[in-house]
């Protein structure tokens, strides 16, 4: 009862604010609604007892990435470029992409119906206090089963970071010369 109320609340907020994010004209308002979407999704994670995922979403996306988004929006005046750059084909491309995505989703849903259980794996639900603590479980699987992908991802991030520093340095050098 309470679970379904919470689920529909978070889900409704997520969908509604995602729609508002796309339709707002003001970039800052879009950013705010993106934050709301991310928070509502985090709420759904929490409801699934994925506490670590919940807090990772909040710290990384809302506390980190969105702060940088807002920083950029504040520093760059977006009003002028919005009027200057009009990508004429945008609407056509958007419709095509949306159609393709809708087609894919429909096909997946139709095919899944033929699988046993309607394609949904419904396992016996475990009570919340019986679940293993999921931050520990996540750490174990990251550092044992998925060590190589984990390391590759971190090297990739390091490369991106070094690349950003190098690009920033170059820009500074040309400015001074």
């Amino acid at each position: 009862m309470l679970d379904s109320i919470l689920f529909y609340f978070f889900g409704g907020v997520a969908v509604l604010s995602a729609a508002l994010m796309v339709t707002r004209r003001n970039a800052m308002h879009s950013a705010v609604f993106l934050i709301t979407t991310l928070l509502a999704t985090a709420g759904i994670f929490l409801q699934l007892r994925a506490e670590f995922l919940f807090i990772a979403q909040i710290i990384l996306y809302v506390g980190g990435i969105m702060v940088l988004f807002i920083f950029v929006i504040m520093l760059v005046r977006l009003d002028a470029p919005i009027h200057q750059i009009r990508f004429r084909m945008q609407k056509l491309v958007a419709v095509l992409v949306a159609l393709a995505l809708g087609f894919e989703v429909t096909v997946v849903l139709l095919l899944a119906r033929k699988l046993p259980g309607g394609g949904l794996l419904i396992q016996g639900s475990a009570p919340a206090d019986k679940l293993p603590p999921n931050s520990e479980e996540l750490a174990k699987s990251l550092f044992s089963n998925y060590l190589l992908p984990f390391e590759i991802a971190s090297v990739l991030l390091l490369v991106a970071m070094v690349g950003a520093v190098v690009m920033a340095k170059n820009r500074k050098g040309t400015d001074e010369s």
Partner: protein
């Protein structure tokens, strides 16, 4: 009974502790924040040889309530060109984030709001950092230069110092091996030592980073009065301004609680495992009774009759509280209660001490310049924090794999960290000296 009422009743039966303590936090924290402001003003007055607020109530004790009433009835001004939608709710974000993050804190072994969630400390840090969204959005929505510069500074400061603070927290988490708040304090009790002694560099890093994260002097660049009027809250007035203020002070309490939990042993009394020091458990009752005796002593010196009565009332309240603390010693069957009460006393004492250090620094140190702040963050604090995570990890490895004594391992690695810190500071000084001599040369050439 209809099923709906039954569901509501069931809900209340399961969650009433959480609901009541949540309401208590929302109701009490603003009051505490108000009195923290009063303590700050009194301390500032004391350090500057003044009296501070004296008019409202005895020794200005009712000043926070008068301030709150004043802020509530002040005109609420919204600038014409402001983004009214964001302007309206930005202060709310700041306050709600700070209050929500208190939900996962433990104020004593049994004083808590939420269940013991297994991401406790991350929840507190993550949710309290959301308060910055309120500052940034409020600064942007005001549509004023001072506000937006304050907001931009605030963002830059947050991004720089949250990294160092997070790395400092990782050190304490490495030592405790868990994210649960209760288990972190239990780990300090098992280690027989507070983590501040095992990881002093991490505590120092967290102290500096937490001052920067709460926007307090000497890092209060986002609201530097002499440069930016009031920074991001320049355009705010009345109750919205009060919400920002409340969020700021609630945030201070949150970072102090996190530091207490991680480094200062939470609700543990000093030397929790030394049995011949068990009389320390009587200290809270004794302390409160002494406050009462001091009130009686001061009562004779009050100039106005009502103040004399007030002092007597405070004294008797203190004696009553001291008696409550003593009850479990008289009735042994209530022994379990004393742990909770004493724990809350020690926890609040440590939090107050941490906040006192904040205020002390504020009245002692001059404000940093913005580039100095950034240099301190990126050139010294973050490298130091990274090296410290590495050396605490090495110390734990030496202890676990090579059977070193824990103290020996930690002293060696801390010495290594301090050597690195010295190197960082020296190289930074050299860089600053080179830059200033270069700029002096150019200014000379212009002068000539």
């Amino acid at each position: 009974m209809s099923p709906a009422t039954q569901a509501v009743l069931h809900f209340l039966q399961t969650w009433w502790v959480e609901l009541v303590s949540g309401v208590v936090i929302v109701a009490v924290v603003p009051l505490i924040a108000g009195y923290v402001v009063l303590v700050e003003r009194k301390l500032m007055a004391d350090m500057q040889a003044r009296l501070g607020p004296m008019r409202v109530g005895p020794h200005g004790l009712l000043q926070p309530i008068a301030d709150a009433v004043k802020l509530l009835i002040k005109e609420d001004i919204v600038p014409q060109d402001a983004d009214s939608f964001i302007f309206w709710f930005a202060p709310v974000i700041s306050m709600v984030a700070a209050l929500t993050s208190m939900g996962a804190l433990y104020f004593g072994p049994d004083f808590r709001v939420a269940q013991d969630i297994n991401i406790g400390i991350l929840f507190v840090i993550g949710v309290s950092s959301l308060g910055f969204l309120g500052i940034i959005l409020g600064g942007w929505a005001s549509n004023s230069h001072y506000s937006i510069i304050g907001a931009i500074r605030s963002t830059a400061q947050l991004v720089s110092y949250e990294t160092a603070g997070g790395l400092a927290i990782i050190c304490a988490l490495l030592l405790s091996g868990t994210l649960r708040i209760h288990a972190i304090v239990d780990a300090q009790s098992d280690h027989h030592v507070w983590f501040i002694f095992l990881a002093p560099v991490a505590f120092f890093t967290y102290l500096v980073a937490s001052i920067a994260e709460t926007n307090r002097a000497p890092f209060d660049l986002p609201e530097a009065e002499s440069e930016l009027v009031a920074g991001y809250m320049t355009e705010y007035s009345g109750f919205r301004w009060a919400l920002y203020f409340l969020g700021e002070y609630a945030n201070m309490i949150v970072v102090a609680s996190v530091a207490t939990t991680l480094f200062l042993g939470g609700w543990l009394r000093p030397f929790p495992n030394v049995h011949w020091l068990n009389w320390l458990d009587l200290l809270p009752a004794l302390f409160i009774a002494l406050v009462g005796i001091y009130c009686i002593y001061r009562a004779g010196k009050q100039p106005v009759k009502i103040q004399v009565w007030f002092m007597w009332a405070v004294a008797f309240a203190c004696f009553a509280v001291a008696l409550i603390f003593l009850v479990p010693w008289i009735f042994a069957s209530l022994k379990f209660a004393i742990l909770g009460l004493n724990g809350a006393f020690w926890f609040l004492l440590k939090v107050s001490a941490y906040i006192y250090v904040f205020m002390w620094l504020r009245f002692t140190l001059p404000r940093y310049r913005f580039d100095q702040l950034m240099h301190l963050g990126w050139y010294i604090l973050i490298p130091l924090a990274i090296v410290n995570v590495f050396s605490v990890g090495v110390a734990l490895l030496l202890e676990a794999e090579f059977g070193w004594n824990r103290w020996l391992a930690l002293i060696v690695t801390t010495a290594f960290t301090l050597a690195i810190a010295l190197f960082l500071v020296r190289s930074h000084d050299k860089r600053v000296a080179a830059a200033s001599s270069a700029s002096a040369a150019t200014s000379d050439s212009y002068a000539g």
